[in-house]
Symmetry: C2
Subunit: 243 residues, 2 copies
Amino acid sequence: MAQCLTCRAAPVCIPARIGLDDHLMQLPTRRVRVARDTHLFQAGDAVADLFYAVHYGAIKYTLSSVSGLAKISAFLMSGDMLGLDAIGHQLYKGSAVALEDSEVCAIRCSDLRPRIMLFHGILSKQIAHEQYAAHQLRNSGAGQRLAVFLLDLSWRYGQRGYSSQRFRLIMPRQDIANFLALTPECLSRELSHFRSAGLLEVDDREVTLLDARALRQLAMGTAQTGCMQDHDAPSPVPGKPCQ
Amino acid sequence: MAQCLTCRAAPVCIPARIGLDDHLMQLPTRRVRVARDTHLFQAGDAVADLFYAVHYGAIKYTLSSVSGLAKISAFLMSGDMLGLDAIGHQLYKGSAVALEDSEVCAIRCSDLRPRIMLFHGILSKQIAHEQYAAHQLRNSGAGQRLAVFLLDLSWRYGQRGYSSQRFRLIMPRQDIANFLALTPECLSRELSHFRSAGLLEVDDREVTLLDARALRQLAMGTAQTGCMQDHDAPSPVPGKPCQ
DNA sequence: CGGAACGTTGACGTACATCAAACTAGGTGG
DNA sequence: CCACCTAGTTTGATGTACGTCAACGTTCCG
């Protein structure tokens, strides 16, 4: 029901990816509310021909191992898509939990059939994104990963019309640490390190980037700071993460 | 041109994924030879609506950072698909190099249109696979990653009708190390460690798995061996890697 | 007030990288 | 055939990034 036309997230959501036109104006989307700390879906839930786009709020997507312990694989904000990895297996491999009161749009893949090639593009880009993220995470030290994370957040806020310099972290430290494959202690130390290096200011969850240039250097692995230099590959800089 | 019908790789390739039928029998695929150590494609090459499936041989797919250094993201063998991440951006993000004289089939996405939903499934599963692989790689120590790698190889050889107990590594140690985000030295040490623990035998590139059970334990992160136990997540076992 | 989450900081241990050297195996030329 | 090279692999000694354990400060809520 023509909701995309009036949606604030449209510039970064499906319409922007697929092109807003007569067809999309009639894209039937069902909106689902997800209260803070509740599941949108859990690993193992069945699904068919359906994925989600975040309308507002924030969702974390976690994958769990056989051992039951979970790792956060992505933080989704308005316009981001969720569940594209499930339509193949017809069931969710991970769990989606709201970090704050949120709302998502449920979209039926078959409704995108008129734009099928573009839908392929979306799926393909998601593959590329996952590869890139994995590449990123493997090939860098704690500081570099943190820099990439912060710049990515900054870019996404900017893209959505908020300040890319000053923003509020939607997730607790523990979640950031989990996502970056660090311990909370190490994350805290890195933040302090960044702070004392004049790169940023942190007040609880409020972050202000003071030297984005230096952060970008760090993220690229070309910084002169005490950052590890992998014998075989530092990592690319964000600025256009595909997600 | 009805090549799938007679292809030895069919049981693990597109036909197995999409269902071999009248349509697929006429799937026009162009076969491309790739000599050892030469590129099938390189990062930046343009592409449109096309991906590859390995007919025979072995290909490595590498992603490079801005800094130019490359990390191996996947080893592909017969039946594996390549380039699904490129059809969205219309250009390759990484490079594909043959580890031995190989041949691939070029497949046009639009030729799969009659089976479009299944093609979605393939793309979606690839997303899930990339997530899983990233998850895997992050959340485990050197030994665990090596165990996962070996079991994955073993499983894939078995799936293709070769012995899953005794097989020949198609890639040099350096490539394995790169793929596992380790140094060759560390990889070598882990192999020695496995050997002296009676888990396997290694003669140059010839590997014999002696205790797949113990390897599986290791891969799951539930082994009693001197393996790290991540405070927040060991990793799942292979046995059905989605690729 | 007490207690539970959460965040920060410090001391210490360990897995892995790094550096360096020896040991192969394959190739080339005498 | 041997001398000689280079590339790949293995082994050892040492350094370091980050995990682990423990203590302390905050904020929040009963």
